[in-house]
Amino acid sequence: MAAVQAFSPAAAGEAAPVLLDVDGVTLRYKTPGAVVTATERVSFQVGVSDRFVLLGPSGCGKSTLLKAVGGYMRPSEGRITIKGRTVTEPGPDRMMVFQEFDQLLPWKTVLENVMFPLLDARRLGHREAEEKARHYIEKVHLTRAVDSYPHTLSGGMKQRVAIARGMAMEPDILLMDEPFAALDALTRRTCQDELLQLWEETRFTVMFVTHSIAEAIKIGNRILLLSPHPGRVKAEVEGVDTVSPTDGSAGRLEKEIHDMLFSDTGHGA
């Protein structure tokens, strides 16, 4: 059973060397009418090779946080640093899998979409890029659609292309925003397994947003729980990779997190 403890900075220190440091970050959107605060003073640290999961209610600012780490937004308060350097702009070292279905380039086929960043950002040769792309497209079971344009794909297929694209880049940090939400149970499991296998091979760092507690436990080694809008850090779960689905400890952790989220009354309305 997971131990519920009061947070102490020392406890976090045992993890791998810090790669990403989010320190007291407040993120705001300025709209013509008003200023919307998406997250408020969020702090956490992600170590090298962490599989860091963000879990929280809809609209609490998970995507916004991911975008800030991706370099698309500047915090109005606090600082985001990667390897000690402040994040100022996006870059291919932080490959992003977005939540939206329209993240594929409509003018490129599935293969070209996966190959494009390999050629352009990773500067692979054409043959190598194509090989790698085909490899990952196969992993997400899209071989039959390899020459299709995105607008002829189903929602889930589009997301799988984006996943393949992200994984094929084998980046230092992979930022994934609910990548498997549009997938059926079976495909989802395959994709989760592929992701974990890739991690075994290359030990990249991944920041992963999900709505499913079970998925969070399966994918992550650490989970950050966010409170409803505006998102603040509510709790952090460590050592998630020590639980196992076979001995029931995973189920117990899932129930604990579940109860913790559901007991909360402040649902963002």
């Binding site: 519920v4 408020e40 003073r41 850090v233 460590e238 604990e256 913790m260």
Partner: protein, 284 residues
């Protein structure tokens, strides 16, 4: 460590007010689009003045101040405002008619395949024709006078507006179309309530281009076409002064066109943009 641990985090203190970085007056003024644009216009005027003086050929290209003097003159004697007003009246008629016709053609084009062929073919055929080519027909159908001018204005407004509107309609996402038809919207209601707002950015571009070309055409048409009687508009003003070699007055007329263009862009089109596509996030 063999078990997972949940570490509770105490809630952070109440957020402080946003830390507005102190910013200088200059920097803030620079953030204001209006200030920037005004500056830009001033710089352009300065360039004009300098170039005009260097060239020192007022019969070809008067300096900005000479032009301003002529402008003041002609505004004071009331001739320029009267001419401008004459032009604007005709222009608005032609523009409105052109936009309405473009709307009709596009509605037809969206509704039926033949309509779409028709629009494409007509645009490809007619839109490269210069206004002067339509003159004989205009004369037969509308005689001398504003009727013909309006006809020619329609010719220059219709095609760009129709092309942009049609292309905008065709780019509306499949999902939005399906939503509209889900509501049972059909025909004109569908176009008005779904396609037009969804394609608004494109339509606005068409309207801007149409507006600009209406001016061009009006000035040029009054020139080829003259004025039936009465005093004529800005185009005639320019042409007459050109013939009288009152070049600063010619440039005063052109400056009027420029000024009207700036005012319309910044007061009308910008405002529409701010209230629509920018607010909706369909354009940044």
């Amino acid at each position: 460590m063999a078990t997972a641990r949940i570490l509770m985090r105490s809630a952070a203190g109440p957020a402080s007010g946003e830390v507005e970085r102190a910013r200088g007056l200059l920097e803030r003024a620079w953030d204001n689009g209006f200030v920037r644009k005004t500056l830009l216009v001033v710089v352009l005027a300065l360039i004009w003045e300098t170039y005009g003086r260097l060239l020192d050929n007022p019969l070809l290209f008067p300096s900005f101040t000479e032009t301003l003097a002529a402008l003041a003159d002609r505004v004071a004697d009331g001739s320029l405002p009267a001419r401008a007003w004459t032009s604007i009246k005709v222009l608005l008629m032609g523009y409105a008619a052109g936009v309405v016709l473009a709307g009709l053609l596009t509605v037809l084009a969206i509704g039926t395949r033949l309509g779409s062929d028709f629009l494409e073919t007509m645009t490809a055929m007619l839109s490269p024709l210069p206004a002067i080519a339509l003159l004989p027909l205009a004369l037969i159908w509308f005689g001398l006078g504003n009727g013909s001018l309006v006809f020619i204005l329609i010719h220059s407004v219709l095609w760009p507006v129709a092309l942009n509107t049609h292309s905008g309609f065709r780019a509306v996402s499949q999902t939005l179309r399906m939503v509209g038809r889900n509501y049972g919207l059909k025909g004109f209601a569908y176009i008005r309530k779904i396609l037009i707002p969804a394609a608004f950015a494109s339509i606005l571009t068409g309207l801007k281009i149409g507006w600009a070309f209406a001016w061009r055409t009006l000035v040029a048409a009054e020139l080829v076409f003259g004025v039936a009687s009465g005093q004529g508009g800005l185009g005639w003003f320019i042409f007459e002064n050109r013939n009288l070699l009152e070049i600063p007055a010619v440039f005063a007329g052109l400056l009027t066109v420029i000024t009207i263009g700036l005012v319309v862009e910044n007061l009308i089109f910008r405002t529409i943009e701010r209230r629509t596509v920018l607010r909706w996030g369909t354009q940044t």
